[in-house]
């Protein structure tokens, strides 16, 4: 697949955006700090500067980048697997698994793991559980469209179940679940970052290893089989990466929608390519930048209004996708 000069320039720009946004995030906030404060506070773990910069701002901005990258890569993989631009990490119902278990934990008191991180664990277990259900279906069902429908049904079924729980829940737990479902990047502690980062990097390496079959999958499963790939195995790998990435994000930050749908579509249209080498790097850098920018807006406007991340990603993403689709179809 062709790597044109414009692709490389776009990826380099996207790659440079990440450190710039990272630094801006560390410097800006209720308490503005200088670049020298950032480095000097690093050696002084007891100071207020350290707490603000490294314990509060740093995990949040890194998480914003990981959320954006994970959801965008998961969206890209789903859209390629299902040959459908409307596919996303949520369509398969993987996210519904997280929501179901978190709803159970917050509204009925049922929990898979009794601790302060009950919600995180519930969301992770839910995502993996539903990921496993989809994997089992993927072994039986040959058609990706049927599999997509199974995912949608799983989501609808779960939503109905959650709605039932909401109708019976008391006000406090209902509020608690609603807050979780709005999404937040603030729930990650510094010591949780290494394991999150490691999971993300392993998933990304596996995704990079399947770039060549992904390029073939663009032409459909039948073609991919004709060119000699084991399509069933490929589907399992793609769904596994999606489950891990979606589960990771949902567990720590709640169900953040729209990023997985918007970023890969915008990128494909902007770069005019199906080269999954370009698209994979692009979804990582622009997905990360997108959520980092969203979070920057949230932080800068926090004095005026508290905007949940899930609300902002949809508010920005939806009109952009519609505008692009209109332009493309016109």
């Amino acid at each position: 697949m062709t790597w044109s000069r414009s692709h490389i320039i776009a990826l380099v720009i996207g790659g440079l955006l990440i450190p710039v946004l990272l630094i801006v995030h560390l410097l800006i906030g209720d308490l503005d700090v200088s670049l020298s404060d950032v480095f000097s506070s690093l050696g002084n773990s007891g100071s207020t500067g350290y707490q603000i910069i490294w314990e509060f701002r740093f995990p949040r901005v890194v998480m914003a980048a990981i959320v954006g990258a994970c959801l965008s890569v998961a969206g890209l993989l789903m859209q390629t697997l299902f040959n459908n631009p409307l596919a996303g990490p949520y369509v398969l119902g993987i996210n519904s698994g997280s929501s179901l278990l978190v709803a159970l934990t917050t509204m009925t008191g049922f929990t898979v793991f009794q601790s302060d991180v009950g919600n995180i664990f519930s969301a992770l277990v839910g995502a993996f559980l539903f990921g496993l259900v989809i994997l089992v279906f993927a072994r039986w069902i040959k058609s990706t469209i049927s599999l997509l429908l199974v995912g949608l049904m799983l989501g609808s079924f779960t939503s109905a179940f959650i709605a039932l729980m909401q109708s019976k829940a008391d006000l406090q737990s209902l509020k608690s679940f609603t807050m979780w479902s709005l999404g937040s990047l603030q729930n990650v502690a510094l010591d949780q970052l290494p394991i999150i980062l490691l999971t993300f990097i392993i998933g990304l390496i596996i995704a990079a290893l399947i770039v060549k079959p992904l390029n073939n999958l663009v032409l459909g499963e039948s073609h991919t089989k004709l060119i000699g790939y084991n399509v069933k195995q490929l589907r399992i790998v793609i769904i596994a990466i999606t489950a891990v990435f979606t589960g990771l994000v949902t567990a720590f930050c709640g169900p953040i929608s729209f990023v997985g749908l918007a970023v890969p579509n915008i990128l494909r249209i902007a770069l005019k390519t199906q080269n999954h080498g370009v698209l994979l790097i692009g979804t990582v850098v622009f997905g990360a930048s997108f959520v980092m920018i969203c979070d920057l807006i949230i932080r800068l406007s926090s004095d005026l209004i508290h905007i949940p991340i899930n609300v902002l990603t949809a508010l920005i993403g939806a009109p952009v996708v519609v505008a692009i689709l209109i332009k493309k179809l016109a």
């Binding site: 697949m1 770039v211 390029n215 663009v218 073609h223 004709l226 060119i227 005019k272 199906q274």
Partner: protein, 236 residues
Amino acid sequence: MIRLDNISIGYAQSLLTTGSIELQSGNVYILIGKNGAGKTTLFKSIIGQTSLISGAIQIDSAPLTSLTTKEIASKIAFVPANFPPVDYMRVKDFIALGRSLHTNFFGHLSNKDEGQIQNIMKLLGILDLKDAFVTDLSDGQRQLVSIAKALAQDTETIILDEPLAYLDYSNRRSLLEKLENLAENQNKCILFSSHDIEISNPDKHQFLLIDPVKNEINHFATSTGKEIIQICFPKN
């Protein structure tokens, strides 16, 4: 070499049967039959995408069922009747996907791969389309691009489902000549389906004719247009 040993093909029930048929390299075989007679099903059976009801298929003396999808792809390239709907893919990238079996882990094209793709595009007269998006092509151009991808796969056998369907008369003749040259000069085994009896040439082609009465496929080393009509399209 592909050998069909008394196969019965179909889905819930048998659609067609054959006796023992051998398809040899260096020949062009035309599969002729009515609409819905089972031509595509036969092709899908040969490439291992549809199971046989009975009988066996051998490819280079190995049973088809013992071959992996990769081994089948290294021996047979298939050009489906429909072009896949795909945005933002340039002609050269589309054809390059046919080299997937030969390229490295990341799909990087070597100079040899690039050269081969270039030669194939020259052979089919589509070199000037190399940077065009496949969505901007006419049906006939897409057909040629699909065939180029199959040629890039570099297999001994190429099976084409209705390759002449979207082409005008001169392009049909020209493509047919190219397929004949591939069989003759590169010792390929070419098998394709067609409704177009006029294009058949008893001196250059062999025939697999589908008899709709007996539901069988029979191999004829040579046949005239009149015989083809009698066998494949009998009056009720």
